[in-house]
Symmetry: C2
Subunit: 442 residues, 2 copies
């Protein structure tokens, strides 16, 4: 009902979007701006996100959303600092990769400038994990953030305050409206923060499978290439890995528990899957920035772990953000749950399934994530997984330890956890961790 | 993540609904109650409505929503008043049928107890039309409403205050979020008001075609039978008509303009399509209550118009609600637009299309409906249609008169209106008005 160039009103955009009919980029941009200005309502934006989930979001709409989110705040230009890098996971369960990969890459000479988000749906978020570190400041003024990137070589903050602040608002709204699982919304959210954050090279870890927001490898690859395309006009280089989220990564799920596990990786210990992926992501970002020659990243990253330089960088990083640097090495420096409940195997056999989504939902239910907007995340809540897919257990063998605020939560958490587990009479096929890789050449 | 009997949380309901996966009736009821209690947010309910539009709403969810809406307020029992009836249109453009049909049915001895809604999307609403009548009170206390039904034989109020008040809130939210066109949401909205309003027989006019919320006859029939099924457990009888909304009904679109046109019908004048449908709906409700024998309704309704009894009832009705009873006969009693702009035919030929939705959107844009929640409806805004489908026009012949608040609006309205019109070199196929009928036997 408007001339072809004028943007549609929010209601017109919504009427088309819920039916899956395309709307122009200008109209999407106008809707997002109207929402940020308080003209369009949360109900309208929530409905739009639901339409995006149900009907998909086209490339033009995704790009328009990304631009609108970037334009909502400051945009850093870090080129004068030398090779800068950033890492990002699309969200998984027990996925503390970033906490280890970022300081490893920094130890290799990449300046890590990272703006992170909070947990979404059943998955954890880097900001929630960092807030489990006593004293750690996630909200730094941007000038201090840039100084820390320059002087310490690594800084990780919450993206909310100044960088793509609209994305932080949109995160909250998507979490509240159950509209997290949309490839377009995920790509726009991630890339708006990455673009505003200013790093020159971005390593993406795109999760696929039961506990991921992407169900198929095709979907994940589509999102990865979409994100690379969103970054290109801004002169950023994207490299990506597609990795499995059929079962949780590592052996710990929950904010403080995952900080502890990242510390193990930085000390050369920890579960092999988490170690492998952290080294891979660190190598990717180091190679993409050009500080490490192609093909040499993995060996150099492994060396930075074994010679202790990555751990030392991690300690300087946390200290610079006023956190307790002992968290990486001293279990006593992290908050711990008052209640721990061992969950025994209901029968014997091989663990054939440890459904990542149900484990994540159990952790969320225990308090590690949010079921509604104003919920506070409990840093100590979560699960330790004592058996993973392929392990053999006897009846009653410990499968997991539930970490909870009180005995009632622990008991219910143990019940919920068991729904995630399947046992079989024969060993299952192994689940490959890294499924595909790609991205822009250095 | 809950035991099978406990309702899901709002976020869990949304995560399933945006993907088109079914949720139990108890969970839908819990979401609606949570929204009414202020626990679930407008954003969550808006997202749920968007999911309902995009993915459809199952029979169980529709019934649960209807029950929750009815339970949100008072529910009248009018059995002691004798045969009571109600009429409803699913929403069209230029559709003042109810304003004429209701007093005609009352003249036949049906006590009309009607609770109406406001305009939705590009369609008008009975409450908005009634508010164009100077002095008319749409918000009566329920005891006064019931007394008026008993003493005057007809009362029409806004459903908002006490009857299914949740539906009034949901109307506003759906209008705001562009989620009006969902068969399930429409059925639940209509039937919650009908059930709470207490009338024993309900005549539904289900619109189909370009300007209707239903695109196909199958969809309309599905909605009609769904609404009849929703009413049956409450002991109400539903009869339904499916009528065309390819072009606007009658010749006037806009609130005061439609009151004027209903007055013409009550005086035995007015456009034949509106007259035919008003008589049909009045006959349906009279036969369904049993006050008129099957098959005799149409002749008796036509007689009530020609002998002036329907007009007399309409005047007593408006007077009882403090409105000016002269509105039905005296054009000067209604507010009129300061600006009128004649739209000339851009060429010659037969009018082959007069797209109801574009006409309705033009009227909405002029102020006859709402583009956002807090907009006030302008009673004088709208269009007079001087040529309808099948009429022959020469270049420059008047096609319509735009009624607007100022010259700028009138000019833009005239431009927008022309997008609704198509001319052809040969006469088009006539559009049948009444397409199907059905319902519960009396």
């Amino acid at each position: 009902m408007r001339s072809s160039t004028a943007p549609l009103t929010p209601v017109e955009v919504l009427e088309l979007s819920v039916r899956g009919e395309p709307v122009g980029a200008a109209s999407v941009a106008a809707l997002v701006r109207a929402w940020l200005d308080g003209v369009a309502t949360d109900a309208q934006m929530g409905a739009w996100c639901a339409a995006a989930c149900a009907q998909g979001l086209g490339a033009g709409a995704t790009e328009a959303l990304t631009k609108a989110l970037v334009a909502s705040g400051d945009r850093l230009e870090l080129a004068t600092l030398g090779p800068t890098g950033d890492t990002h996971s699309t969200g998984g369960v027990g996925d503390s990769t970033t906490l280890a990969a970022a300081p490893i890459a920094a130890a290799l000479g990449v300046r890590i400038a990272k703006a992170s988000g909070r947990g979404l749906g059943h998955t954890g978020g880097t900001v929630d994990r960092l807030e489990a570190i006593p004293g750690y400041q996630v909200d730094l003024p941007l000038d201090r953030f840039v100084r820390q990137v320059r002087d310490v070589g690594i800084a990780v903050i919450g993206a909310g305050a100044r960088l793509a602040p609209a994305d932080a608002r949109l995160h909250v709204l998507r979490d509240e409206t159950g509209t997290v699982r949309s490839a377009g919304l995920i790509a726009a959210s991630i890339m708006s923060k990455k673009i505003a954050g200013g790093a020159g090279a971005i390593a993406l870890d795109v999760k696929v499978g039961d506990g991921a927001f992407f169900a198929s490898v095709e979907e994940a690859r589509g999102a990865a290439t979409a994100m690379a395309a969103l970054a290109r006009p801004w002169g950023r280089r994207v490299v990506w890995t597609i990795s499995s989220m059929e079962q949780p990564l590592g052996r710990r799920v929950g904010n403080a528990l995952e900080v502890r596990e990242a510390g193990e990786v930085l000390r050369g210990e920890g579960p092999p899957d988490l170690r492998e992926l952290a080294v891979r992501v660190a190598a990717d970002v180091a190679e993409a920035t050009g500080v490490i020659a192609p093909g040499e990243g993995e060996a150099r990253a492994a060396a930075a772990v074994s010679d202790g330089t990555a751990l030392a960088v991690a300690e300087r990083w946390v200290e610079a953000q006023e956190g307790d640097p002992a968290v990486w090495s001293d279990d006593g420096a992290l908050p711990a749950a008052p209640e721990r409940r061992v969950v025994g195997a209901p029968g014997g056999g091989w663990v054939s399934r440890l459904a990542a989504r149900r484990v994540g939902e159990t952790a969320r239910w225990l308090g590690a994530g949010r079921l509604h907007r104003h919920q506070t995340v409990d840093p100590v809540a979560g699960l330790e997984l004592l058996a993973k897919v392929g392990d053999r257990v006897e009846p009653g063998d410990p499968l997991a330890v539930v970490h909870a605020r009180d005995p009632a939560l622990a008991g219910r958490g143990a019940e919920l956890f068991l729904h995630a587990v399947e046992l079989a009479d024969a060993p299952p096929e192994p689940i490959p961790l890294i499924i595909d890789r790609g991205g822009d050449d250095a």
